[in-house]
């Protein structure tokens, strides 16, 4: 089991980065791409110029656009696709997997209409039970350059962690384990909204105090939503909570942060999205979370503010003013486990 081949499904910047880590760890890695041209490019040039420019992939990473080949060649699969595409890919994958497969997704989003978590979608579309989620402060580019960071593998199955740890953990990438799948998924999806809000604040010229306020209260909203869905509150103090929020809110590399920044500078959502090659998950997640919170009666002021800017044409200035006008109270509304 210690040298098992790993499949990575999705060759965006994060999928390509994970393939690189696996390759450097000596694992034979099958990297699935949707487009045959990209398969050819990676296999011929060892590079994925659009999504991970300037980074060379090790020779044991083989690109393919054949899902059947990936699932026949690897029982450990990392699914790294945008949230809106995950159901379709999972459905296609479902024709090729068995109960012996382990599927770990690294998708930080939530399904729009149904508000289903990605692991729930996987459960509905495949026969796989050994499901996990990978989430943490993982800016693709930094990891691709070998800069130290860590991540969380959350799964109810110990085996999922053991196999992921054996494949991914190394001198610059620390892999931690947790059982709280819900918390890891909510944290990963929600941080994109906080990051977007933090980008707006930065764009408006606010400094570190403001961003710290947004980040702290953002994590508080994250925990409020997460615990209402059954998450363990401690997860939000870990890699997939604070860890990820801090990385994306203070980084100029984060897409969501970038998007917030440009919104604050007066660009419209449509024009920004038109020239972004990659998906800013926060745009969709904020809508899904906003609607869900409304339905369930959960108070999430930062989410509301982001939603109004994105979908109701509210100006960023008004949104910040409204946010600052919400009443304060006890800092913690959720009680800590005793």
């Amino acid at each position: 089991m210690n040298d098992e081949t790993v499949g990575v499904i999705g060759a965006g910047s994060w999928g390509t980065t994970l393939a690189k880590v696996l390759g450097e760890n000596g694992r034979r890695t099958l990297l699935w791409t949707r487009r045959p041209e990209l398969t050819r490019e990676i296999n011929e040039t060892r590079k994925n110029e659009v999504y991970l420019p300037g980074v060379e992939l090790p020779p044991n990473v083989e690109a393919t656009h054949d899902l059947a080949k990936v699932s026949a060649g690897a029982q450990l699969l990392l699914l790294v696709v945008p949230s809106h595409g995950l159901r379709q890919i999972a459905f296609e994958l479902g024709d090729h997997v068995s109960g012996e497969h382990v599927v770990v997704h690294a998708t930080k989003g939530i399904e729009q209409e149904s508000f289903k978590r990605m692991s729930e979608v996987l459960r509905e579309e495949t026969c796989v039970r050994k499901i996990g989620v990978l989430s943490g402060p993982n800016l693709a580019r930094e990891l691709a350059l070998g800069q130290p960071t860590g991540t969380l593998i959350a799964s109810r199955y110990d085996e999922v962690f053991r196999r992921c740890h054996a494949a991914l953990h190394n001198g610059y990438f620390r892999v931690y384990w947790g059982e709280d799948v819900i918390g890891a998924e909510v944290g990963g999806a929600f941080k994109n909204i906080v990051s977007l809000a933090s980008g707006i604040a930065t764009g408006l010229g606010f400094g570190d105090n403001t961003r710290a306020l947004l980040v702290t209260r953002g994590i508080s909203e994250m925990a409020r939503l997460g615990t209402s869905m059954g998450a363990n509150i401690m997860t939000f103090a870990g890699m997939a909570g604070i860890g990820d929020v801090v990385a994306t809110c203070f980084s100029s590399l984060s897409r969501n942060h970038q998007l917030g920044l440009r919104l604050a500078r007066g660009e419209t959502l449509a024009s920004i999205q038109a020239d972004m090659t990659m998906v800013a998950e926060g745009v969709k997640t904020s809508k899904a979370v906003y609607n869900y919170a409304l339905r369930k009666g959960i108070d999430l002021p930062i989410v509301r503010a982001v939603y109004r800017v994105l979908y109701e044409d509210q100006s960023v200035g008004d949104a910040i003013r409204e946010l600052m006008a919400t009443p304060t109270g006890a800092e913690f509304l959720v009680s800590l486990p005793s």
Partner: protein, 537 residues
Amino acid sequence: MRPEHREGARDDAARRVAERHIAEAAELGEDYLEALLNDTLYHEQRRLERENPSDPKTRAELAFYANLRRELHRLHGFDLENALGRVTRRFADEIVGNFDERVYQLTTTVLPPALSVLLSAASPRQLLAGSVRQRLSEHIQIQGSIDHAKKLLDHGTLIVVPTHSSHLDSIVLGYAIFLMGMPPLLYGAGLNLFTNPLTSFFMHNLGAYRVDRKKSASLYKDVLKEYAVRSLELGYSNLFFPGGTRSRSGGLEQKLKKGLLGTGISAYVNNLKTGRAKPNLYVVPCTISYKLVLEAETLIDDYLKEVGKSRYIIEDDEFSKPRRVLKFLSNVISLDSRIVITFSAPLDIVGNRVDSEGRSIDARGRIVDPLSYVARDGQPVHDEQRDNQYTTELSDAIVSAFRRDNVVMSTHVVGHASMALLKLKNPELDLYRLLRTGGSLPSLEISELAEQVERVTTALRELKNGPRLGRELEQRDPRLIIDDALRYFGTYHTQPAAIRRGSRIVHQDRNLLLYYGNRLSPYELGRRLGSAYVQAA
């Protein structure tokens, strides 16, 4: 179980448990075995302190454990392992039932009339009339995936997992299984069923083995589970109540005990390893729905005494009083109260649906090889942590089946609606005070109650995933539904839950209203119906 299998299964269960612990001790050291035996000693001696010391069986057990205690600290190596083997063997001996195929043949033909006599409280002379048996079968309605379940017997072994409200469940279900033409189910019955005069005959002679729920030692539970595993491997279909005990609140089981449920996966892996033909195990959830529950008064009383800390074992309830049982059963017959048993779609050991050929089907309709769930590099292996999680997934699937195939009856709807109305009228009272005092008014306007009943039935009809509605709820007039419920409430219980006086309904036993209403708790009616309706559970 056939005698030749029974003794083998008993020996195998005792031996496997001992061997497993001995293997554990090989890793953890000999202290592990000594600690395990000490733990067993502790639990058994505590249990025996509360038993009657003049009972010869108790005396023998006390002597056995006193002896073990004396020698335990001196034992090492092979002697220690031997002592462990003696204890597991002792447990296995106690567990093994008396099932005999020939007796089953006899009992299924002779006993249903006898059961009918019990049920109808008729004179024994009616037994000879032969019509009684037919009458009984008229009162048990069996529906759902009957043929599907029967067909699966050609492909593997079944584990039937019903909801549990009453001690009558196992008898009623046992009889239903007979009516369906299926072989009997093996099941672990509490000792009280063996000592109760009404059921001891069935328990001794149908497929029951003994479960002593007073025995809390983990070693005992190990042997119990292993016996179930072994019986499944031998192809004996089993019955487990996955809730572990009768529902105290009246609610449907929402959390299941994983211990016995997990035996399916262990048996499956063992079957694969030994290359047994038809290795598959199938889980068949099933709901048993009563308009009135024999032990309702005791159960809800126990639930309310200390929510969450219910007595696990109740020995002095209605079931232990033959006259109550007879009264209950004669009401079942005379009121034409059907006991409805609904078999849900069968599942595999990880909770996938199964088709009538016994193949596992994933959520998108693809065929899945169940071996793949327990395989490592193609070979079947046990993995405790993995299998516990599979059992959790299976348990989730069973809970949704219960929710879907629960049959809601007039007493449940009227109980729920009455409690909601009472809460609405008395917002200042907490549940306990409301139950005790009944609030400001001793009765409810029938038109108001009818409105609530209408709301409940409409909401239930609109739900996508169950429940099923009882026959009397097919009619749309809520007043007729109320009348139907009142007819039942007025007949069996010590005091009617509610009675009609003119245009008002007097709520007399609110605990019972709560109990029957709780059957609807999984459907979150309070949340669905909003502020005009208060969650009764």
